[in-house]
Symmetry: C2
Subunit: 372 residues, 2 copies
């Protein structure tokens, strides 16, 4: 990367206390700087680690502090980024005779890396490294209900329609059953981006659900909060993951009342009142039982909205009529309901995770006023 003339290199990981964490040392050598103990940083890490030690009775605190001291040895002249966990980040300008890249050294865990990156870009050392560079914009579109290959067709057609795609860096990714279209572009390509957005809007009016990067989870949370609605879940094959997803965002207790995971038929009847005769006649995996689960959850928790999910997550338990990946969904409110079945591809873990996405999109449709 240095040979290609890049101005900034970002590393992540390898900043821990163990001997295999070599990043700081390797970067120091690369940037032509000796490693020195930063005593202020050492004191800061000690301050962070000492209360944590209280959780580990029986561990020799001296030995642990020595191990963590390693993390305070940094390249001379580097800008230190305050630790979010126990590992400090670094911005290390080249000290060689010729100008080389500045290296931004971040810890591996995403929850530490992300806030520290935001700190890093505000440092003088970073600003000097990127002085004069153009700010690239990044937009994120999300679609649900089309295969990834279809977005490739859309992009080809947009290009054929005369939209200047070469000015845009477009990455498409299939994630949790949704298509993410990330577009990066310099300010001069703003018009091309606007044209592409309009083209996608026209071609996929129902499928394009987010133009500002907001996830379906965030959209549903906003809608529920705005309208003062509450939700409850009764789920079988997703085994708690749907409730887990609805409680993922901070503040979810304002709209999520709770859920039941009803794996056994007895639990389906006993906890949310699905009639045993219904299970007997149509089977536990059926749109009828999904509907009864949604109604039962809504009623049992006194929620505005109910969600019911039942399906075959696999790898066992499939039949010709109801194969592995066959999942039934129902969402209901006082004004109506939507009930669907789908055959989802992938492993047990894929089927469970994708089911939560499908259920969230069904819930979003109900909130938009759709009803069977």
């Amino acid at each position: 990367m240095a040979a290609e003339g890049l101005s900034v290199i970002v590393t992540s990981g390898g900043l821990g206390p163990t001997a295999d964490d070599l990043t700081a040392e390797v970067v120091a050598e690369f940037c032509g700087r000796p490693m020195v103990l930063d005593e202020e940083l050492e004191a800061r890490i000690t301050e962070i680690v000492t209360p944590l030690m209280a959780r580990w009775p029986g561990v020799d605190p001296e030995a642990v502090l020595a191990a963590n001291r390693k993390q305070a040895v940094v390249p001379e002249g580097a800008t230190v980024l305050d630790p979010v966990g126990t590992a400090p980040g670094l911005v290390v300008p080249s000290a060689g005779p010729r100008p080389g890249p500045t290296v931004v050294v971040l810890p591996g865990p995403p929850r530490e890396l992300m806030p520290m990156w935001r700190t890093a870009v505000e440092t003088e050392a970073f600003k000097q490294a990127v002085a004069g560079a153009e700010v690239t914009r990044r937009e994120m579109l999300r679609l649900f209900g089309i295969p990834e290959a279809e977005i490739a067709v859309t992009l080809r057609e947009a290009s054929a329609a005369g939209i200047e795609l070469s000015a845009l860096e477009i990455t498409t990714c299939l994630r949790r059953s949704e298509i993410e279209v990330a577009v990066r572009f310099p300010p001069a390509a703003e018009d091309s981006y606007r044209q592409l957005l309009e083209f996608i809007r026209e071609r996929h009016p129902r499928e394009l659900f987010s133009e500002d990067g907001a996830t379906i989870d965030q959209q549903i949370a906003s809608t529920l909060l705005e309208r003062g609605l509450t939700v409850a879940v009764a789920e079988s094959c997703t085994g708690g993951l749907m409730a887990g997803r609805l409680t993922e965002l901070a503040g979810s207790s304002a709209y999520m009342l709770g859920g039941v995971v009803v794996y056994s038929n007895e639990a389906k009847s006993g906890l949310v009142g699905v009639p045993a005769e219904l299970i007997e006649s149509v089977g536990a995996v059926s749109v009828e039982v999904a509907r009864a689960l949604a109604d039962g959850a809504r009623e049992r928790f006194g929620a505005s909205l109910g969600v019911g999910i039942t399906g075959v997550a696999g790898p066992g338990g499939g039949s010709e009529e109801k194969p592995v990946g066959f999942v039934c969904f129902s969402v209901c409110s006082d004004s109506g309901s939507l009930t669907r079945s789908a055959r989802l591809p992938g492993s047990r873990s894929d089927v469970r995770d994708r089911s939560t996405t499908v259920a969230l999109h069904l819930l979003a449709r109900l909130l938009r006023g759709d009803s069977d």
Copy 2:
């Protein structure tokens, strides 16, 4: 990598149908092979994609098949690995005048990559590339209840005690609150590994819970199945993730009866019978309520074992006495119970995820016969 004389390079990702999926083309150029359409492979992909199309009404099947045809254009002379999803893998030997590395091209999604890697290593092309190479062993130890810095101390002391660690490639990783110690070594270093294992066993007799790579989830599942026991969960701050984790493994319906996610106090009382006066007097986040949740879950589902979790996942809702990350756990059976509280570090998502790990280890201890 080629310049360093490596025999095999493995790539993952970039095999999809969209224009930004360039891996096969780049590898072909690198290996000195032209790209050719493999008609047999095209037929195979069509066969896979056609039934999937049925799920996407309104999509032009011709256009999608054209997009997928791209995936059947492969480097001439490459060994094609049958797709697990729709993307084929490749084993591409160098065609240059000098011997270069063989490139193994795998798709990005782990569920496709993993089985295709196992297929790749069985191909003639791969075997030729690694002919004469030594088979490296990999062992995985798992520990719970010590900080990562402590394992660094253990490794230093093992070395000081004369164990030849230089023959072992040791990687430590903190994952979901557990320490993973992965050790890779050539057959000649078997003795050093045995000595290290013995050293860790002696130094961390309670913390070392897995010597064969088995996860705590797998260990609990095996024990429950062996003894014919069942389990049920009542959880608050983990919002369904504990039930989700206990239903993650195939066949979990044999031991997991179900769970309730009781976010509101009304649900705690109404669904699993936690006395409202108890919540009133000690607070919803308390060891007493955790215990009542465990008992209630066990009774409500008629399970052998009950698990109760209540805590402050954050970022809001913390107090001086019960700060963000404070979580109470209880597990019970007909022979006893274990109830604990802990202060877990990290974000909302970390606290929720780590809570499930702590609860599983508490359950494992109850199954080993520990009791308050």
